[in-house]
Each structure stands twice: as structure tokens, then as C-alpha cells.
Symmetry: C2
Subunit: 192 residues, 2 copies
């Protein structure tokens, strides 16, 4: 998506430790008119697939999920991250390792909101190692819902999570795939 | 807002400890077409006020904030919650007490994204004691931005936070105000 790549080049900041900061439009301040375009782009890629539920994970997936769900006219479910295991009710729970925080957290979805009648598109802001997506995928499978595919805004291709998923046969659509980036020069190279 | 009150009556569950569960459309599964109506309602109430930024707090404010920001055609900023005080960079940070979790957390907004040129509408899903809103308001004041008002979807009127803010002169628009609710009978009474 050309406008996204331009925005990453003009507003993104490359930091040490494979961090791309896009706080000005995606993670903290959110450029909603631009996110609407992103929602439309995912819709155009998945519109033939009878999707009836969007699944994402708190927090930074929620705004994207909202704009995508709007295009499909369907509900959004956001998975919650728990620190404690002290959760009541009938839930799907899967552990996910966080590289950013160096810890493991539980990803939770209530069983009421995901089941065998659902055709699910998973969306998120970033795809790096793929741990969060893998956690969401395992919840979709456990629920009996049909996983149609994944949509991520920025994929850090060099971290390999996206390609591993594709090898497993999961459809992954990323709107910008970064092949390499350099925190010293600030250079960002996209995959074509 | 009539459709909201109907939805609370048909889908909301009253639990002990003043808890109203609206997980099916507002907090976990999100009814995006309905949230679009909510966005339009806030727009109709604040459209004369030259708002150029929507501020909310993660996580459950983000979907609402996105739909409101869409109506105003402006950016959304979501405040982040920190557990530790170990945060880098130029930030506004204010402590907020959580009644739900019985702890204090930091509410954080990067200084880049809020300043004296902003006319801010704060939005959130719930207003109970008003602690989260008070935290966001103090950040808006510290930033030099103009606080135009607050918009909350559901106000638990009996917990008093909304009326305290109104007494201080803050404009607070809540789309449904609950006067009382009963966890045994499940009864919910709205303020007129």
C-alpha cells in the first residue's frame, strides 16, 4: 500500500532492537482518516470471503480492527491480555511470549463471542515473530471457527513470523513488509 | 440515546459490586455498526465546538474513540496505562486509582501529541467514580490544550463521578445515565 509506505518513511523512526516507532499515526496518536483507508484496503483483499467477524488483540489492534469491521459491517472481538490467571467464566486462554516485555501473558477470548458459525479475519498493527498472531490463530481453531486469514499493517519481514505462517498455509496480507531497517542510518527497505 | 438504553436493557448483565457487563457490544465484542451511531451522536452534540483531537484511554475507549474521531475527521490519541514508573521520553504522566483492580496505575500521553493548539474531546466507555476522566483532564490541562468536554457511553450516575465533574464546570455528555441497578433482580433504572 503506497500511501502507507510513504507514511512509514516520513513519520517512522527506527530504534535499536528492531523497533520501528510509528506512534504518530498507528500506536498512540492514530490517524483515523488514514486508518479508514487501511480498513478499505483490507476489505478489498478479503471481500469475497464472507467474513463475519474481525478478531484482534488489545490495545493497538483495536482501532485498526474497528475500521476494518466497519467495512465488513460485522462485529469486532478484541482478545484481552491477562497478567493474572484469576479469570472467571468460560474462556479460551492461550499463553503468548512477549519479546518486547520479555515475559509470557495469557490471551483471552470469551467463548460466547467466537464459535463454529464464524468466518474470522484476524487483524493487528505489527507482525514480527508472529507470536501474538499464533496465539489468536490457536484460539480461532479451538473455537471451531473458520480462519479466513490475517491482515497486518506492518510486517517486519526480517523477523520471519509472516513467512512461517504462510509456509503453514495461513493467508497473511501485510500492507507494508519491511525487508530491513537500520537504526543508525534510519534507512528502511521494503519488500516488493 | 434510546437505542443504547434498549441495548443495555436487552444485553447488559448486572453483577455484584456495581458491575454492569456489556461485553457483547461495548467491551470485548464490539458492535461496530452500533458504535458508528454512537460516534454520530457525540458528533451531533459537539459539532459546533471546533474539536480537533479526541483523547481516550486504553483499552475499551479505543473503539469508541475511533468512531468519534471518524465523525470529526480528526486524530485520536489514546493514553497508555503503565504499571511501572520506568518510562522514557517526554511524557505527561498522572496517577489514577483503579477501583476495579484496587491499585494505582500511571496514565501516560506523549507530549508530542497534545498541546496548546488542541481543542480536545475526551471519550470513554464508562463513567463511574470519574477517576480515569479526572486523570485525562489533568493531562489536558498540563498540556495547555483546551478541554471542550467529555463524552461517555454509559454513566453510572449513582457513583457520582459525572455530577462531581459537572459541578466543577466540565461539560459531560453521557449517552445513558444509570440511576440505580440491582444485581439480584437485574433491574436497571435510567435517569431521565
Amino acid at each position: 500500500m503506497k500511501t502507507l509506505k510513504e507514511k512509514i518513511l516520513s513519520e517512522g523512526e527506527v530504534h535499536e532492537g528492531n523497533i520501528l516507532k510509528v506512534d504518530s499515526f498507528l500506536n498512540h496518536q492514530i490517524d483515523i482518516p488514514f486508518l479508514k483507508e487501511i480498513g478499505r484496503e483490507f476489505y478489498s483483499r478479503y471481500k469475497e470471503d464472507n467474513i463475519n467477524k474481525i478478531l484482534t488483540i488489545e490495545s493497538s489492534g483495536i482501532a485498526i480492527g474497528s475500521m476494518v469491521a466497519q467495512e465488513f459491517g460485522c462485529p469486532l472481538v478484541f482478545a484481552k491480555k491477562s497478567i493474572t490467571k484469576n479469570i472467571a467464566g468460560d474462556i479460551y486462554l492461550t499463553p503468548v511470549e512477549s519479546f518486547t516485555h520479555g515475559s509470557t501473558y495469557g490471551v483471552i477470548v470469551s467463548k460466547c463471542f467466537l464459535g463454529k458459525d464464524d468466518r474470522v479475519l484476524i487483524v493487528d498493527d505489527f507482525l514480527a515473530n508472529g507470536n501474538a498472531l499464533n496465539g489468536l490463530i490457536s484460539i480461532v481453531k479451538e473455537s471451531g471457527a473458520e480462519l479466513v486469514g490475517c491482515g497486518t499493517v506492518i510486517e517486519k519481514g526480517f523477523q520471519g513470523g509472516g513467512d512461517q505462517l504462510r509456509k503453514k498455509g495461513v493467508r497473511v496480507e501485510s500492507l507494508a513488509i519491511i525487508e530491513s531497517m537500520n537504526s543508525e542510518s534510519g534507512e528502511i527497505v521494503f519488500r516488493d
